[in-house]
């Protein structure tokens, strides 16, 4: 018997048992729905992550730490003490080594590195401007490797920093600092105020005591302050495709260094940095530079590594959803086995007749397997169609709810994975139909056609 004729007969017998066929395939449809959504969400999330990274991060950028344990969460437990090496405790108790100024200088000297910027610790007390209240502030280094959404004013092109007298403010400070509009703030001067408790040496104390003048002693113990003035160059807004919605004010590398040095001079933190960002010379493969630095003992991550990390997260989440889909499929497999066994029982006579007429057991078996495959096909088509229709109509809502930004969608349906999914479902259904089909194939026609 020709396969096409078997398939036609399989299709017809399913049509004759419509209710049962549809109910059985609905079980598969649940799995198909979940898997289609999982595939679409995974694809969407990966593309979104890619958009985020490519539109935000300069591919030439490297994140550098003292050793590779930094990117692994740091080492916990006691470690060998190395003189001169400085560590800092992470909230989880792990210790991470810090980069020294010597490390920074050494890396900066490399010919394949354009610039290196440590993350400076700046303990600013407040930000203000004349005639306005004071507000707490977090100052960071302007990152020339990341694009930002500019609301007013303008920022320099990628890989070019702002000047030492300039500052970029997040949108919240516009009204806090008494500007009517974001545009009004551009070109205006703001002040960042720093304080530090003095680090007094024994010699200084003795000297002060020697003067026998209490004012000298008071002066020595008085907090030291610094007011740094900057001109607002841009107001930065929240961006849908920004990696972090920044609430920090941004100042140039030199300014940040100056402020950081002021707050840390005389402390353990002076010229010690947990992490630094370096820019690799255009045309040089960041992976090569990474390897060179890793060989020197540094911990280094490239923009690609970050992408890999994000993809790992996306893939893990996708894997979980796929797991649920597979669970639904396993349930539906039992549904198919059950349905097909009942079908074989109900059609004992028919099977006996077909075998009496000379149909091979193999072909009888195939008839039932194709019926199962049809059920798989139907379930796959129903499930994935509902998923696509629901997904496409929900996409705008998801995009606005998650603030993904215009043009970005979470669910991206691609025809080839869906077609492959349906084929896989048909194979799974055929597998489920194997045992009932074998029972049908082994049926003895004489027994099946016995009437008494």
């Amino acid at each position: 018997m020709k396969t096409i004729d078997i398939i036609r007969r399989a299709g017809r017998s399913l049509r004759h048992a419509k209710a049962r066929t549809i109910l059985t395939s609905l079980a598969i449809a649940v799995g198909a729905f979940t898997l289609t959504i999982a595939l679409a969400a995974g694809q969407g999330a990966r593309e979104y992550a890619n958009t985020l990274l490519t539109s935000n991060i300069d591919p030439q950028i490297l994140a550098i730490a003292k050793d590779k344990s930094f990117f692994e969460g740091g080492k916990t437990g006691p470690q060998e003490y190395i003189p001169g090496s400085s560590t800092i405790a992470r909230p989880n108790g792990a210790l991470v080594k810090r980069l020294s100024q010597a490390d920074i200088d050494a890396i900066a000297k490399r010919s394949d590195i354009v610039s290196i910027t440590p993350t400076y610790a700046i303990n600013a007390q407040y930000i203000t401007r004349s005639g306005q209240k004071k507000y707490t502030v977090d100052a960071t280094t302007y990152n020339s490797g990341i694009t930002q959404t500019v609301i007013a004013g303008s920022l320099p092109a990628l890989r070019t920093s702002i000047s030492d007298t300039q500052i970029a403010l997040p949108e919240v400070y516009v009204s806090l600092l008494g500007f009517k509009t974001a545009q009004d703030a551009i070109g205006q001067t703001v002040t960042i105020h720093l304080e530090r408790t003095p680090n007094i040496t024994e010699a200084q104390i003795q000297q002060a005591l020697a003067t026998n003048n209490p004012q000298v002693l008071t002066a020595l113990a008085t907090k030291q302050t610094k007011d740094a003035d900057y001109k607002v160059i841009a107001i930065v807004g929240k961006s849908a495709t920004a990696l972090s919605a920044t609430t920090s004010v941004e100042i140039s590398n030199n300014s940040a260094k100056e402020l950081s040095d002021f707050s840390t001079i005389g402390t353990d933190n002076y010229h010690e940095y947990t992490i630094a960002t370096a820019s690799v010379k255009p045309g040089v493969d960041p992976a090569m530079v990474k390897q060179a630095l890793v060989n020197q003992g540094y911990g280094v991550q490239t923009a690609k590594d970050l992408q890999g990390l994000l993809f790992t997260i996306v893939n893990t989440l996708q894997g979980i959803v796929i797991g649920f889909g597979i669970l639904a499929l396993i349930t539906s497999v039992f549904g198919i086995i059950n349905t097909q066994y009942i079908s074989v029982l109900e059609r004992t006579r028919e099977i006996g007749l077909m075998k009496a007429l000379g149909m091979r057991g193999r072909h009888v078996s195939r008839l039932f397997q194709f019926e199962a495959a049809w059920i798989g096909f139907l379930g796959g088509v129903i499930g994935s169609t509902i998923a696509v229709v629901a997904g496409l109509s929900l996409n705008p809502w998801i995009t606005s709810t998650l603030s993904l930004g215009d043009g970005n969608v979470l669910l991206i349906f691609q025809p080839i994975p869906i077609i492959l999914l349906i084929i896989v479902l048909m194979l799974v259904a055929m597998l489920a139909g194997y045992f009932p089909a074998r029972k049908a194939a082994k049926l003895d026609p004489i027994e099946a056609l016995r009437t008494e």
Partner: protein
């Protein structure tokens, strides 16, 4: 020519062993109409199953056109049945959910006949049995007589050498039964195929060229009007 030589069939084992066919021997010439006659439980159906390659008795030979079908491999037996044998059953055994056309088409599909040839031969067969107007109707919607006509169309569509009919009129009223009998004997005469009817009905048996009487699995007597 069908030669049945020493066919013996036992059901069950040891103490439960039951001799359903006991050393059956006879020869049926080509084109004959033959009745296998006997009471219920005498072994008629068992004999028919052995002669048609549905069953394998443990002893004996069934030689059809020089080939012992009991020695064939299962694939060859299936092929033999699909090409050489037509079956008609007491309970019709038509596929209720399939159309008349698809019922009759089944043996041709099993024999890998092309779609075009199939269409022609199915319509011819339906015409021969007189239900060509029911081509597209589901078999379930046919009357008993029409169902048996459909079964006959299915039995003859592949132009078999031998048609086996197990109590073909057993489930029909006498008028309908008579028309079915007429149809069967007409086909037997026209096509030259051999017709083997299993029956306990003496009147039907009397219309056959040859009568093989079975009693408790043994041949009681053979009455033949052909040489």
């Amino acid at each position: 020519m069908i030669e049945v030589k020493g066919v013996t069939k036992t059901y069950g084992k040891k103490q439960n062993a039951f001799l359903a066919l006991d050393d059956i021997n006879f020869v049926i010439p080509d084109g004959a109409s033959v009745a296998i006659v006997g009471k219920s439980g005498s072994g008629k159906s068992t004999l028919m199953h052995a002669m048609s390659g549905l069953d394998r008795p443990e002893k004996g030979q069934v030689v059809i056109d020089g080939i012992d079908i009991l020695k064939l491999k299962s694939k060859a037996v299936d092929r033999f049945r699909s090409e050489k044998i037509g079956f008609i059953f007491q309970s019709f055994f038509v596929q209720a959910n399939e159309s008349s056309f698809d019922n009759v088409s089944l043996p041709l599909e099993i024999s890998n006949i092309s779609v075009k040839a199939r269409k022609k031969r199915v319509l011819e067969a339906l015409q021969v049995v007189g239900i060509d107007d029911k081509e597209k109707q589901k078999a379930r919607n046919l009357s008993g007589g029409q169902k048996q006509r459909l079964a006959i169309a299915r039995a003859i569509v592949n132009r078999p050498k031998i048609i086996f009919a197990d109590e073909p009129t057993g489930n029909l009223d006498s008028t309908t039964g008579a028309t079915i009998e007429k149809l069967l004997f007409g086909l037997n005469k026209q096509s030259g195929s051999t017709l083997v009817i299993v029956t306990h009905d003496e009147d039907l048996a009397a219309k056959c060229d040859m009568r093989i009487y079975i009693k408790d699995g043994k041949i009681d007597k053979i009455v033949s009007e052909v040489e």
